[in-house]
């Protein structure tokens, strides 16, 4: 008798429960995608190679070390970026303290004159070091800045994906964005950015995803990605030559001291 009631209860609630698990809201999907893409692990260290390739195939290369640390509790993050190449920006470093609801604090170190400066951080749409990625693409866009809807579910290659449309609430670089978000890893595998004329302007693709393990956990990571400007034919390919998580970067690495004297141990 009791067993029957339990069964009935399970039968009654199960569809609801599975519905809740399988059908997250669009905002939840984007939230999880951002977490998987921008803030896996407690911290991360990577050597990044960026190739800027124009329509004629002419290539320029930027090589940098990137350190990231998530602050406990909230969504605050700290970034330290150090340029190895090309020569005219060698030893230039950026320090970013990223906050979820207000402008970042950003500092730059210019090695030619040994100068550390705070820089204006409103330029989230500006190109990151001349690439097809904007500052926003590099460090993430506020979840609440767009309205999100799930358009459909479909396979992209072998991966089952949610296709989410994000529409900016205020004027932005794009009028809508379609994201293919992998149901397993929650990583965005493809994004299409449309301009005011509703033409496809930029396409992001996750070209290679690799699970990087740290302390018994595995973090799926986009180790190769491309952002292509469809209209100009210019594209930027980014490869994470080495990426490791939960390496224990001390918080004091993310201070002015590191700008002036780069922390050798963490950028090699």
């Amino acid at each position: 008798m009791t067993a029957r009631i339990v069964f009935a209860l399970i039968a009654a609630f199960c569809p609801l429960v599975t519905y809740a698990q399988e059908k997250p809201t669009a905002a939840e999907i984007v939230d999880r995608a951002q977490a998987a893409f921008y803030s896996p692990g407690a911290d991360m260290k990577a050597r990044v190679v960026m190739d800027l390739i124009n329509a004629d195939g002419k290539k320029r290369t930027r090589v940098l070390s990137m350190l990231r640390k998530n602050l406990p509790g909230g969504r605050e993050q700290r970034y330290f970026l150090y340029f190895h190449e090309p020569g005219d920006v060698r030893r230039t470093a950026f320090l970013v303290w990223k906050y979820p609801e207000k402008d970042d604090d950003r500092w730059i170190f210019i090695p030619a004159v040994n100068m550390t400066r705070r820089i204006a951080a409103r330029d989230s749409r500006s190109s990151f070091v001349g690439s097809d990625f904007s500052y926003e693409d590099i460090s993430g866009r506020d979840l609440a800045a767009d309205s999100h809807t799930v358009l459909r579910e479909e396979k992209l290659g072998d991966s089952a994906c949610y296709v989410v449309q994000s529409t900016p609430k205020a004027a932005a670089d794009f009028t809508r964005k379609l994201s293919w978000i992998d149901k397993l890893s929650w990583l965005p595998l493809k994004e299409e950015y449309y301009n005011a004329q509703n033409q496809l302007a930029r396409v992001f693709t996750a070209d290679k995803v690799q699970a990087i393990s740290a302390g018994g956990k595995a973090y799926p990571t986009v180790v190769k990605r491309t952002m292509k400007n469809v209209q100009s034919g210019h594209r930027t390919e980014v490869v994470f030559e080495s990426a490791s998580y939960d390496v224990g970067i001390p918080p004091d690495i993310f201070t002015e001291r590191s700008l002036q004297q780069a922390p050798e141990k963490w950028i090699r």
Partner: protein, 421 residues
């Protein structure tokens, strides 16, 4: 003498001289650039002295940059030196830009040797950055990095969340490099007189000490500064009433203190800086050859106006103390400076074409001095290695005694081409 020493160090450290094993153990990197700089005066006037041709600047430079650090980062080494051929004077010379050894342990960084130190929040307005500048380089169109000169110093830094301390002690005095009368028209009230120059001798009590204390306070980057040393622009010892035939230029004693703060505000960055210049050799303001004490204040605002377009606005004010006394003791025939000197500036920077093009303009004008300075500049990166910059320095002024006004005959157009390796 210094340059050959640097070259010897280079030769020893050159990776080619090391076995494969050592190469792995000594992480030394060698980089640098080849650069050609040329600058032509456009006013058609020629200064009367030796090097006063059409070219203000004509040179080829080889930069070698050697840096290394131990794996842990405890020890480090940095040498930056230029060998250049000055085509205007037809001579070859060296310029040791930086050469220091560094130690890092716990919260402490120590640097010993020649190093470039830059403090303060101003863009070309210096209040608490009391370190030597090379204005000749800047006004003749060399890249910005040559505006700063290294100091031979010991620098000790202590870092913590509560307080950061930065102390620079310099036993060897280095003056600002002012535009040379050989190549520039300049205001010189003592043009006919015999001139000598006395630099502060290297003695323990003449060691310059500069201090910066800084931390974050309520979202602001706050710094406090202090300095004890010398003015870097010379004063003049003279006796105008006797019509003394000899002028001795010297560097009067100076103590400064001040503060700066920066914060994100109004969708941009707002900066303030202030400082007091205490001219110890002219406390009452009665020595006409020594600058009076001053207050200097700066307010600046930087923001992004459009995509890839950044603007910086600055307002800068200098207030002379003991002005009545200055007027009273100013020798006849000299134009009196105003009590207050104010300068406004705007810098616009626009990047185009994936940041391969950079258009910039710096405009400074002083309503009190009635003079101005404009520097438009276009830079292009042809590749990751090759870049070029074309720019101009344009001066106007009502009087030939003011900072920019005296340069009015020195308008020039400059071109710089650089190959990085």
């Amino acid at each position: 003498m210094r340059l050959p020493a640097a070259l010897a160090v280079l030769a020893i450290l050159w990776p080619g001289n090391l076995g494969a094993e050592e190469k792995n153990r000594l992480p030394v990197t060698i980089h640098g650039f080849l650069m050609g700089n040329a600058s032509v005066r456009t006013t058609g006037e020629r200064p009367p002295m030796g090097e006063g041709g059409a070219f203000v600047l004509g040179e080829e430079r080889l930069r070698l940059d050697v840096s290394g650090a131990t794996k842990s980062g405890t020890g480090s080494l940095q040498i930056k030196g230029d060998i250049f051929h000055d085509a205007v004077a037809n001579r070859v010379d060296g310029d040791l830009r930086e050469a220091y050894a560094g130690y890092r342990g716990g919260r402490v960084d120590l640097r010993l040797g020649r190093q470039i130190v830059t403090w303060g929040v101003g863009d070309l307005f210096f209040i608490n950055d009391v370190f030597p500048k090379d204005w000749e380089s800047f006004f003749s169109g060399r890249p910005m990095e040559y505006l700063k000169r290294g100091v031979d110093a010991v620098r000790l830094q202590y870092s913590s969340e509560a307080l950061n301390v930065d102390v620079v002690a310099t036993p060897f005095f280095a003056a600002d490099a002012l535009p040379s009368p050989k190549r520039f028209f300049l205001y010189n009230p003592f043009a006919g007189a015999e001139q000598r120059e006395n630099s502060p001798p290297t003695r323990a009590e003449n060691t310059e000490v500069a201090l910066r204390l800084y931390r974050r306070m309520a979202g602001f980057d706050v710094s406090f500064y202090g300095y004890r040393g010398f003015w870097r622009m010379p004063g003049a010892d003279m006796d105008p009433y006797k019509g003394a035939p000899r002028i001795t230029r010297f560097y009067p004693r100076l103590v400064t203190w001040g503060a700066s703060a920066q914060h994100n505000l109004l969708n941009g960055v707002v900066s303030f800086e202030g400082g007091r210049y205490n001219s110890l050799d002219d406390r009452g303001g009665s020595a006409p050859g020594v600058p009076n004490s001053q207050w200097r204040v700066l307010a600046a605002y930087q923001r992004q106006l459009a995509r890839e377009l950044t603007a910086t606005f600055q307002g800068y004010v200098e207030v002379m103390e003991g002005y009545d006394s200055y007027r009273q003791f100013l020798p006849a025939g000299f134009r009196a400076e105003d009590r207050v000197r104010g300068v406004f500036s705007v810098r616009l920077t626009q990047f185009l074409g994936y940041q391969n093009w950079r258009l910039a303009a710096f405009v400074a004008c002083s309503p009190t001095d009635n003079d101005s300075f404009v520097q438009p500049e276009v830079s292009h990166r042809f590749s990751d290695r090759i870049s070029a910059t074309l720019g101009a320095n344009i001066f106007t002024g009502k009087y030939e005694t003011t900072f920019f006004g005296q340069m009015a005959k020195n308008d020039n157009v400059y071109l710089s081409v650089r190959f990085d390796f």
